[in-house]
Symmetry: C2
Amino acid sequence: MLTRIDHIGIACRDLEATVDFYSRTYGFEVFHTEVNQEQGVREAMLRINGTDDGGASYLQLLEPIREDSTVAKWLAKNGEGVHHIAFGTADVDGEAAAIRDKGVRVLYDEPRRGSMGSRITFLHPKDCHGVLTELVTAATPGDDEGR
Amino acid sequence: MLTRIDHIGIACRDLEATVDFYSRTYGFEVFHTEVNQEQGVREAMLRINGTDDGGASYLQLLEPIREDSTVAKWLAKNGEGVHHIAFGTADVDGEAAAIRDKGVRVLYDEPRRGSMGSRITFLHPKDCHGVLTELVTAATPGDDEGR
């Protein structure tokens, strides 16, 4: 079961400038930052609200750190904007398997590491009416390995 | 203060087919449907989770009903995908005024009618790092005029 909008992933060219925009304009604060070498991005998570499944919803601001990262290629084609959306679940493995069985392409064989120690996978946007869609299981509460 | 991700607006060519995709793939259910003549769209709201400000987060699926609607033009240029994101606030008038004072273009002089009797305005995507951004104040609890 997918129980929340976990985050909206936004691709940007300059992470500090974009964080500054969201902070100045809306008062949103940085909850967490990290570099994800595998995904080829630097990122900032802005926590917007808590959710009734015990999680939270974030904006995830993403700046590519390599020209060959998928976010860099996406930015070159589309310019800055919403890159993906992510739904939270307690069981990313089970959800990904069930969704694959329905004929939707799941991009990873096994979930990979996402923000804040989460486990993530992606669904092919062409199978999702144009929306690159991520599934996320947050790290165990209290596991702050990724922070 | 913006207190939640209110919704993610997703432009689609066939509302019934897209609702069916979200229902079959993820189990999301339609919470509300309406036609917004002013915006030139038919829409379905899928409620994903409750939020800790007493509101909720939705997916808003949007199909244009006129060739000259902004969503129709956006679809012709971009294809199906995420059209906008929306933040919820108790005071759309005050937030819009404060954000305008910071130099961000607000697209309406006064908030207009949004989904489920809400009051909405939009911020210019070029002033928001490429993200068309909506501000929403939900209808008074118990006011089901829009449903």
